[in-house]
């Protein structure tokens, strides 16, 4: 058979370049990141000296790192809980027909479309210590008598970071849940109405269980986007005040890139891997479950 009709050869030739690129520029650097974390590499020199677990024992004894690890978990879990609630509620609203829905949908999607760094700088201005419009509004409505230094106090700053992360990701989750809602078989919903189920009963007993895989997908992406995000914290607080609001990516950047200690930076970043493995395993399970019934992945 001629080359022009050999599906196997054509397939390999068309897949090859993308596969080679991904292996060379994602696979190799990934392995390199792990190797660097066991080395004393610095940005200036090109040598790679093996130091075993030295970087890990250094950071595990470092309160700033432990705090960053805790902050990453707090921000990720806190924002994703908010995302689940907001997205499920928003999807119920946006599935209904109402006037101005197209415009409303446009506004709803803005937080996801805007570049993270530009959203973060806008929020920095909103949380400004002198000009914060939030403080003004809270004072005028009588809810606040003192003053809130949003990005100046560790607890408040972390809360602000959680709000911004939830704000940025809930529109994405809403659209995913909406797509899930539209794929629920209508006869199931109608049957539940005929059987006398009201709005809440229908939501919690019929729709949410059916939506679970879709919500899971939205949350898993949300976890990846939040846990691995550098921009929000870097711009909002820069890890401050006094290194209390670092997350793993900002600390890895500070030590590894600004501080030129590649080994330690890599070791800090490697602590993101467990988050990612959990996400990947859960995603595979979701994918496998839907594969059986709906003919999603793997079905040709």
């Amino acid at each position: 058979m001629k080359f022009a009709d050999r599906e196997d050869l054509l397939g390999a030739a068309m897949l090859g370049p993308a596969l080679a690129y991904v292996i060379l520029l994602v696979g190799v650097p990934f392995v390199l990141a792990i190797m660097l974390s066991f080395s004393s590499a610095t940005a200036g020199s090109l040598t790679l000296t093996w130091v075993g677990f030295h970087n890990y024992s250094t950071i595990l004894a470092d309160p700033i790192f432990l705090r960053a690890l805790r902050n990453t978990a707090i921000v990720t879990i806190g924002s994703q809980v908010l995302v689940i609630v907001l997205a499920t509620a928003a999807a119920q609203v946006f599935r209904a027909a109402f006037h101005g829905k197209r415009a409303a949908r446009f506004v709803l999607l803005l937080p996801w479309a805007v570049p993270v760094s530009l959203a973060a700088i806008a929020w920095t201005w909103i949380f400004d210590s002198t000009f914060s419009v939030i403080n003004w509004t809270l004072r005028v409505t009588g809810l606040l008598h003192g003053w809130l230094y949003w990005l100046g106090e560790p607890g408040l700053a972390l809360f602000a970071i959680i709000i911004v992360q939830a704000w940025r990701i809930f529109p994405f989750a809403t659209v995913i849940v909406l797509a899930g809602l539209s794929s629920i078989p209508q006869d199931v919903v109608e049957a539940s109405i005929v059987d006398g189920a009201g709005f809440w009963r229908r939501l919690f007993k019929v729709e949410l269980p059916l939506l679970l895989p879709v919500i899971a997908v939205a949350v898993l992406f949300g976890v990846v986007y939040t846990a691995t995000d550098l921009g929000v914290v870097y711009i909002l607080t820069g890890g401050g005040p006094a290194n209390t609001t670092h997350v793993l990516p900002t600390l890895a950047f500070q030590r590894g890139v600004l501080g030129a200690d590649l080994g330690q930076g890599a070791a800090i970043a490697v602590f993101l891997v467990p988050f990612l493995i959990v996400v990947a395993v859960l995603m595979l399970r979701v994918a496998r479950r839907t594969e059986v019934g709906a003919g999603g992945i793997g079905a040709r």
Binding site: A43, A122, I235, I297
Partner: protein, 278 residues
């Protein structure tokens, strides 16, 4: 749902989602004496224009900052990354869907999972690789590295798209005497054009949004992209020019938001990995 709670809830979500953009807008066009009134002063309402709006900040942004330079840099990177991504991901996606047989799905899944490996894990090894290649502080570094994010996702997107296109037309062309290769070159591109367009738009939006690699590799102000330059370099000394900053954020966000609205359903099909049928 009842009407009144429905509209109230919709309004609530719109206010939460849209408020920072309203704030960008009002900041971008306020006069400085209207803008820089401390929030302590409860008689001065910051939510409205107390003085007539001004174009002063916009003029400053376009006339006296590197903003237009950053826009040009961003567009250059976009064009290069779009070309690389389409050249790699479209054939790969087609191949996974139509040519490599039953391993296609598994392999596609594997490639997709590399999308989950974040820039914040790879920027440290990359900072070394980029230095070795002599690409530090150049747009070339971004052009080389950005496809690590776009290729996995777009390969997956195209694979899903090709699967949704009926096989008949290509089959008929082969019955008519086209070779398999001729079908791929002459028939398939037309059939999967919407998929290719989605790849272009996804890549465009990704390059506009990316911050981590740009922050790591680019240090000169005149080589920055919009998403890096605006938050990092639009600061003079310690003074933020909030009016110009918010104008830049607003002008960048709106075109992106329009693109997102047009293509959202296709992106979502990619993200839900077949958990939702489009």
């Amino acid at each position: 749902m009842k009407r009144v709670p429905l509209y109230a809830a919709a309004l609530g979500f719109i206010v939460f989602a849209g408020f920072p953009f309203y704030w960008m807008f009002i900041t971008a066009f306020k006069q400085n004496r209207d803008l820089y009134v401390g929030a302590f002063d409860t008689r001065h309402v910051p939510w409205i224009f107390n003085d007539p709006p001004t174009l002063e900040h916009v003029r400053l942004l376009f006339g006296q900052t590197d903003f237009l330079r950053w826009v040009a840099n961003t567009l250059l990177v976009i064009v290069a990354v779009v070309i690389i991504t389409v050249a790699l991901a479209v054939p790969a996606g087609y191949s996974l869907a139509r040519l490599v047989g039953r391993w296609g799905g598994r392999l596609g899944m594997g490639i997709f999972f590399t999308y989950l490996i974040p820039p914040t894990l790879l920027f440290i090894p990359f900072s070394r690789v980029i230095a070795l290649l002599g690409l530090q502080n150049s747009l070339g570094a971004l052009i080389l590295v950005y496809p690590t994010i776009t290729v996995p996702f777009c390969t997956w997107l195209v694979m899903g798209f090709v699967r949704s296109v009926p096989w008949d037309i290509e089959e008929q062309a082969m019955i008519d005497g086209y070779s398999r290769l001729a079908v791929i070159i002459r028939i398939a591109p037309r059939l999967i054009l919407p998929g290719i367009l989605t790849v272009v738009v996804f890549t465009f939006t990704l390059v506009m949004q990316e911050f981590v690699y740009a922050l790591t590799f680019i240090s000169s102000v005149d080589r920055m992209t919009v998403s890096l330059g605006v938050p990092i370099a639009l600061v003079r000394g310690d003074v933020y020019h909030w009016g110009s900053l918010m104008a830049a954020a607003l002008f960048t966000s709106i075109p992106l938001a329009i693109l997102y609205n047009l293509f959202i359903d296709r992106f979502i099909q990619g993200f839900t990995m077949g958990a939702v049928k489009g």
